[in-house]
């Protein structure tokens, strides 16, 4: 099946197997390995990417359904001029990264949520920040530092 979509700002057109999952398109076809396969059942959020501004689990999303849409992965967040996105900066600052496997998913989820908050002019409470990360598991940090980092993203 032919699909046309944008990946990290670049328009692509390709033929894909109809049953291909988005995570496999991203990792195996496009060779963007920053998106991580964790549980593959929508629990852990390591595979989170942004489709048309919303964070989704790419392990539970058919590749054909990105047709006409815009997909962002961790690789598309920054360029050579700004090597780190604000969310990534805050995560480093707060020591929120240990083994790193969950990190790209957490960065993408937080990026989508912070864009939404910015658009609506909202500064979320700590509880709301926690709620925004409920679909991302981390087995190293114990979450406190991740939530601190995410919260810092919203502070002026």
């Amino acid at each position: 099946m032919k699909i046309v979509f944008k990946i990290n700002g670049k328009q692509v057109s390709m033929e894909v197997k109809p049953s291909l999952l988005l995570i496999d398109l991203i990792r195996d076809v496009l060779k963007l390995k920053g998106t991580k396969p964790g549980c593959l059942e929508g629990e852990c959020g390591a595979c989170s990417v942004i489709v048309d501004g919303e964070a989704i689990n790419s392990c539970m999303y058919l590749a054909i359904n990105v047709n006409g849409k815009e997909v962002s992965t961790i690789e598309g967040l920054t360029g050579t001029e700004n090597p780190l996105h604000k969310v990534q900066d805050k995560m480093l600052e707060h020591g929120a990264v240990q083994c790193g496997f969950c990190t790209s998913g957490i960065v993408m989820t937080t990026k989508a949520y912070s864009d939404k908050c910015l658009e609506e002019g909202i500064t979320p409470t700590r509880e709301e920040v926690k709620k925004s990360l409920e679909g991302n598991l981390c087995r190293c940090t114990g979450y406190a530092k991740i939530i601190d980092a995410a919260e810092a993203v919203y502070k002026k």
Binding site: P18, A55, M60, Y61, L62, I64, G135
Partner: protein
């Protein structure tokens, strides 16, 4: 996983695809948050997937405000519901139920139609919609529509009244007639996120100016093969003043809700625990 996909973007394409596949094994895919898991663990050889995720027809994808009803297209996502100011204002029970679904990522994909057609007794949005006396609009491959109350549309675990040539098009919720509301969704599980309910209770009481109940809707989740509408509990509440409820009233309400619970013991909780919890949360909503 290996299957054929028919992509449909309009109502006519969808109806043709359903009509053409009456003699074959097919599934309809919308948000995929449940279906992908099914497909991964079941043989998919020879199966056709009718993809409706790219539908453009507004009646399938939008939240429509009518004079007497709010109509949710089957492809409205849990996030669409959470972000709708209208639903938050008029049907807090549905807002809370949608917000309690899994996680942000799942809510961004999961559809209300899928939550209903998956027919899980613990489905959160379906539970709220049963309490709201929602009605399903079902479309068949000939383009004919039929209407059925959601409470009878779900007939058992994983089973709906849908025929093979039918698809759920939309869900209508009658608008409130009362002046004030007491409306909410209680969900009990072992953690807050990504949780499948052990027991849930959806309630929507409409009150007149003096605080008397003029209309009541209550349903309980994960305690029966379907999501029962607790009619006798609703009847018991109509005419009562919510501020003046006695402890006996609260107990009697909870006993009425409990009549509809025939839970099983499973991996998540025992039958005894589910009944105790249902009774307690039913009583506690008035505290």
């Amino acid at each position: 996983m290996d299957f054929d996909v028919i992509n449909t973007t309009t109502k006519d394409e969808l109806l043709t695809a359903i009509e053409d596949h009456q003699d074959t094994n097919f599934r309809i895919g919308a948000g995929y948050t449940d279906l992908i898991m099914n497909l991964r663990f079941q043989p998919t050889e020879g199966m056709t997937l009718i993809n409706i995720a790219q539908m453009k027809d507004p009646s399938f994808i939008s939240i429509e405000e009518q004079q007497d009803h709010i109509v949710l297209g089957t492809l409205v996502t849990a996030s669409n519901i959470v972000n709708s100011p209208l639903i938050k204002l008029e049907f807090p029970v549905l807002h809370e139920a949608a917000l309690s679904v899994a996680s942000t990522q799942i809510r961004n994909s999961a559809t209300v139609g899928g939550n209903i057609c998956n027919a899980s007794p613990s489905a959160d949005m379906a539970g709220a919609l049963v309490a709201l006396k929602a009605v399903c609009c079902v479309l068949n491959s000939k383009g004919e529509e039929r209407i059925e109350p959601l409470a009878s549309f779900i007939v058992g675990v994983g089973k709906t009244s849908l025929d093979k040539n039918e698809v759920l098009k939309s869900i209508s919720i009658p608008r409130n007639s009362g002046d004030q509301l007491k409306s909410g969704f209680e969900k009990v599980g072992t953690r807050n996120s990504m949780e499948i309910s052990i027991v849930s209770l959806a309630y929507h009481f409409q009150l007149d100016e003096s605080g008397k109940v003029v209309d009541a809707g209550v349903s309980c989740g994960a305690v029966a093969p379907t999501i029962p509408f607790a009619e006798s509990a609703c009847d018991f509440m109509v005419g009562k003043d919510l501020d003046g409820l006695s402890e006996t009233d609260k107990e009697e309400f909870a006993e009425n809700v409990l009549k509809y619970a025939t839970p099983i013991s499973d991996i998540r909780a025992s039958e005894w625990y589910r009944k105790e919890v249902l009774f307690n949360i039913s009583q506690a909503i008035f505290d």
